[in-house]
């Protein structure tokens, strides 16, 4: 910054701004000299603040600027500010010695009025209560907009079913590649590791009762019913939900969605339906792959760490789980995908003009997506328990 101390700055030190006070009979002359520029703004401000204290001491005050070697907006404004502060009913301050070069600049700053005040509300009980109230109303608003979006998506689906030609296959395939195909490596890796961990922990604790083999039951039921789909849904919410919100949000910011609408296209049909469909197809596939990877990882650890050989593992797995467990897991996947997709699209469309707003809504998309996924999982658990699956 100013302390870089290169050659150019070394020379300019001699040009430090000054304001000399010279008495002239009744009046006073303030002689400005040196560089009155932005570089010296902190020093200038001090000089001018000091000089402002002269207000009302003399009947005439001149501000002589003929010795100023360079002047910019900062300097011109501070001189003008000094002139204003020194002028009152009795005293008249004048600026003298203004060169033709600088007079238009001083004229320019003469038009400057006072800055509008920033109104900042003090933090008080009422403000806090108001914020709580707004948050509660906001929650209601969120639910309404989610239902609204769900309705719009269903309506758009209906329209596409009636006119299948308006369906955007290319876009759907593109999104399917993004959210499904490209997500496979990370999903498989993470679920594989989780399978390993569950198996290792199970064996470690079950061994105390000599019940090592039951780890297969636990692994099978847990992975197929709950962990597989839940974990994958959370990963998809973080990976694809956030991407949807950011894409739609930046399109909203640049008025691309308005442009689409004015051309007679329905943004729900063009943008949201392909994304939703891709997600609804992708999540069951990913959940299946994830469950397989977790079982494989669990089996591997059971073999290497627990001494359960693969044949025994498979036999036990066949006894322990039924097709019901598998169906329970997979049925949940498309519903969770729909929830994630709807939340992401609502948040994307709610983005306002600023980058900050885009960040807030992307965060909200992931947080709400994961929250609703877990809530849905709870609802499903109660449902399947009561129908005996």
């Amino acid at each position: 910054m100013l302390s870089n101390g290169n050659a150019a700055e070394g020379q300019k030190v001699s040009g430090d701004p000054t304001l000399e006070r010279i008495a002239q009979g009744e009046g006073l002359a303030l002689c400005a000299a040196g560089n009155w520029t932005a570089r010296f703004a902190p020093a200038l401000e001090r000089i001018v603040s000091d000089a402002e204290k002269l207000r009302g001491t003399r009947p005439h005050i001149f501000i002589d600027v003929s010795q100023v070697s360079s002047l910019d907006t900062f300097g011109a404004w501070l001189i003008e500010r000094l002139r204003r502060s020194l002028s009152d009913a009795a005293t008249e301050a004048m600026i003298a010695g203004l060169s033709a070069n600088y007079s238009s600049l001083v004229d320019e700053v003469r038009r400057v009025g006072t800055a509008p005040k920033v109104d900042s509300e003090p933090l008080s009980i009422t403000v806090m209560l108001e914020q709580i109230g707004r948050t509660v109303v906001g929650i209601g608003g969120t639910i309404v907009s989610l239902v609204d979006m769900l309705g719009a998506v269903i309506a758009a689906t209906g329209k596409v079913l009636i006119h299948p030609r308006s369906f955007r296959l290319t876009s759907t395939v593109h999104h399917l590649e993004q959210v499904c195909w490209r997500a496979v490596p990370i999903v498989v890796l993470i679920t594989f590791l989780i399978g390993c961990i569950i198996s290792q922990q199970g064996i470690f604790h079950f061994r105390q009762f000599g019940a090592d083999i039951f780890v297969v039951d636990m692994l099978g039921v847990l992975v197929l019913r709950e962990i597989g789909v839940l974990l994958v849904a959370i990963m998809v919410a973080g990976r694809s939900g956030s991407a949807y919100t950011a894409e739609l949000g930046s399109m909203k910011m640049r008025e691309e969605i308005d442009a689409l609408r004015t051309m007679g296209f329905d943004p729900i049909e063009v943008l949201i339906l392909p994304r939703m469909l891709a997600l609804v197809l992708a999540l069951p596939i990913l959940a299946f792959l994830g469950a397989m990877a977790a079982l494989y990882g669990g089996g591997l650890v059971a073999w290497l760490y627990g001494g359960v050989d693969p044949e025994a593992f498979l036999l036990r797995l066949r006894d322990a789980i039924s097709i019901d467990h598998f169906i329970v897991g997979l049925v949940k996947a498309p519903v969770m995908a729909a929830v994630i997709g709807i939340v992401a699209c609502v948040e994307g469309f709610a983005v306002q003009g600023s980058a900050e707003s885009l960040g807030q809504h992307t965060t909200a998309s992931v947080v709400k997506g994961i929250f609703f996924v877990i809530v849905m999982d709870g609802v499903f658990a109660i449902f399947f328990a009561s129908i005996g699956m």
Partner: protein, 258 residues
């Protein structure tokens, strides 16, 4: 044709810029003299913005040498570079205002970072800059998304001028402004140039700006400067693009104005 000028504030020598296999600038030479307003024109896609962005260091170059204020930007230390950056202001084509800051905060941002001055002076300077670019102080607490296109341009100029730079890059400053606003803008650039001794590097398509505001014009074509000089030189040139540009229907309309 490297024209030599001793008082060059920007000196560009043999600049080559390439994107993949497309060569955008090909051994380009250009001098911008201290205190002048240089209008920079050329067909769309010729690389006007690329040259601007190369000079300010946003686009990497394959070869060549750029000096600004006599400092070779490739050889400069980060401290020297910052000192140079503090002395120039840039108006981007789309304004590039920080969308999460208000107009007030946008204009005060560079001042606050570089100078230790009181909040009072920050506010006063902010109002002074707003008045200079022809805006009312009431817009100070609006966000960029609440401004019209022309207002964004003006606020962006106010921010570019916040530190009273010696050199200003303007990328299509009058595009998107109404003709009266554009005329005021040209006038404003002229006034600032005269009062602050500003050097202005202006990429523009506005013939009015070229006629009223610019001291000198440089024309870009095929990755090189194909002509540089006054309006009269441009009109006298035999180059087909220049003929069309400066003697076309729109140009004649501008010249015919009283």
């Amino acid at each position: 044709m490297p024209e030599q000028a001793d008082d060059a504030i920007i000196r560009v020598r043999d600049i080559t810029v390439q994107f993949g296999k497309t060569r955008v600038l090909d051994g380009l030479n250009l001098d911008v003299r201290r205190g002048e307003i240089l209008g920079f024109v050329g067909p769309s896609g010729a690389g006007k913005s690329v040259l601007t962005r190369t000079i300010i260091g946003l686009v990497p170059k394959v070869s060549g040498r750029i000096e600004v204020f006599g400092v070779d930007l490739d050889a400069a230390s980060s401290g020297q570079r910052r000192a140079v950056e503090r002395r120039w202001g840039i108006l981007f084509q789309q304004g590039a205002l920080f969308s999460s800051l208000t107009v007030r905060q946008n204009i005060q941002f560079p001042v606050r970072e570089y100078l230790r001055v009181s909040q009072r002076l920050l506010d006063e300077i902010m109002v002074a800059k707003l008045v200079m670019v022809g805006l009312k102080p009431e817009v100070a607490d609006r966000y960029p998304s609440e401004l019209s296109g022309g207002m964004i341009k003006r606020v962006a100029l106010a921010r570019a001028l916040a530190l009273d730079p010696e050199l200003v890059f303007l990328d299509e400053p009058t595009s998107g402004l109404d003709p009266i606003g554009a005329g005021d803008f040209d006038e404003l650039v002229r006034t600032l140039q005269r009062t602050l001794g500003l050097t202005v590097f202006m990429v523009t398509h506005d013939l009015d700006s070229l006629y009223t505001a610019c001291d000198r014009i440089a024309v870009l074509g095929n990755g090189k400067i194909i002509a540089a000089g006054s309006i009269a030189d441009m009109r006298a040139s035999q180059h087909p693009w220049l003929q069309q540009y400066f003697n076309g229907k729109r140009a004649r309309a501008v010249v015919a104005e009283p």
